[in-house]
């Protein structure tokens, strides 16, 4: 398997594989672009933000969400690949959940979207299982020692979503506005949702 030549640029390799599949009749022109575009639309972390906002305003939905995340997300229309079994992790004042996939980069696509580069980086995958408090501090989330940090490693088919703490000062906000202040980072657990007067 030794390669005497320099690797072709990675973009060139990707296009070569596409051409080869087209040549062999396994791929129609435009098909890949359609897959990527549909994925970007379907797999959007703003879906998760809507789930969170609903749970914040509707105690019965919140209960259903924590009992059966898959069904409660599907209620809002969010389901599909990498969302077949969703477990929602409730952030509590004394227990803070954070999600990782140490072996690859699994994520609940229908509610968290395709993951960002930092989530896929060796640094995050290696370190957060071992020194989560330090990692969160470096990422800007300083939690008091009294808060237990619990890391959830996505090693099997369960896909996790963190239900963040609702920030103070949001009592009168509508579900739509609440969805706007939820961040992807908060649903992974490396941030809290900031209070709106803190610049959100």
């Amino acid at each position: 398997m030794a390669e005497p030549d320099r690797p072709a640029p990675v973009a060139r390799r990707a296009f070569a594989l596409r051409e080869e599949l087209e040549e062999r009749g396994r791929l129609e022109p435009g098909q890949l672009e359609a897959i990527a575009q549909a994925s970007e639309e379907q797999f959007d972390w703003r879906n998760g933000a809507r789930v969170v906002a609903r749970a914040w305003v509707d105690p019965e939905y919140r209960e259903r969400l924590l009992r059966d995340g898959t069904a409660a997300c599907a209620e809002l229309g969010f389901a599909g690949p990498q969302g077949e079994y969703i477990v929602v992790l409730e952030a509590r004042p004394e227990l803070h959940p954070v999600i990782v996939c140490t072996q690859c980069s699994c994520t609940a696509w229908p509610v968290l979207g395709l993951p960002p580069d930092w989530y896929k980086s060796p640094a995050y995958r290696a370190r957060v299982a071992r020194e989560p408090r330090r990692v969160l501090r470096e990422m800007g989330l300083e939690l008091p020692e009294s808060v237990e940090i619990r890391v959830w490693d996505t090693t099997a088919e369960t896909r996790y979503l963190v239900l963040p703490l609702r920030p103070p000062g949001t009592e009168g906000m509508s579900e739509e506005r609440l969805a706007d202040i939820v961040t992807r980072e908060a649903m992974i657990g490396v941030a809290r949702v900031p209070a709106p007067d803190a610049g959100a």
Partner: protein
């Protein structure tokens, strides 16, 4: 395999760099790589997701660590499509106009002979020990929990056992368990205070905690 992908707990990777307002794809070829994998799994049915994950793991460690996420995807897709005979390696090289590094060959893996019991073997609150396994092929039991004892905090439905599915062995489904480990159990004197880790583990990876470090005997043996 005890491969480079099994990063949990390793030191030396430095800071986590967060890009603000990051796009889903940074370059056009990245969305191609993603799309090729979806196409090959869901439409061509050329391989399954466990074979895909294992193909990424089979990349040479130096390539794995220097490649971006989507270069790893592309490498795994190309490796599997060559291995399955869907595309031809020489033609691919010619089209790319340079080398096209693929993952290394897959190991021979035999079925483990386990027959999971019809009902879940463990229940909420049970203390379990992860087998000290070192399989040659694909596994989803990370090294950092092997041999360690934790508590079952959730029983998930039955899912296909990846150590078999990645190698075309007899398909079987088993429950997976969310197992809670204290940081002290995993990292000993290096553990941070008030930290814990939950890992989602197939039943075959687990033994009752009172067993020895186990692993030579199959679960139902």
């Amino acid at each position: 395999m005890d491969g480079i992908h099994d990063l949990g707990g390793m030191s030396g990777f430095g800071e986590i760099v967060v890009e603000r307002d990051e796009p889903t794809f940074h370059e056009a070829w990245e969305s191609l790589a993603f799309g090729l994998n979806v196409l090959a799994i869901a439409q061509l049915r050329a391989y399954n997701v466990d074979e895909y994950r294992h193909a990424v793991e089979r990349m040479s460690p130096a390539h794995y660590l220097t490649a971006s996420y989507y270069e790893r995807t592309l490498t795994a897709v190309a490796t599997l499509l060559v291995e399955k005979g869907v595309v031809d390696r020489a033609t691919l090289l010619a089209r790319a106009g340079g080398a096209f590094p693929l993952a290394q060959a897959v190991a021979d893996v035999a079925p483990d002979g386990v027959t999971p019991p019809p009902e879940p073997r463990f229940a909420l609150g049970d203390r379990v020990r992860v087998r000290e396994m070192h399989p040659a092929g694909h596994t989803r039991a990370p090294r950092y929990v092997r041999g360690h004892v934790g508590e079952v905090v959730h029983v998930a439905p039955r899912f296909s056992f990846p150590d078999h599915a990645a190698h075309g062995l007899e398909r079987r489904k088993e429950p997976t368990y969310h197992v809670l480990f204290s940081a002290e159990e995993l990292w000993n004197d290096a553990a941070g205070s008030g930290e814990s880790v939950v890992v989602d583990l197939w039943e075959s990876y687990l033994l009752p905690a009172e067993s020895g470090s186990g692993g030579v005997e199959p679960v139902d043996g």
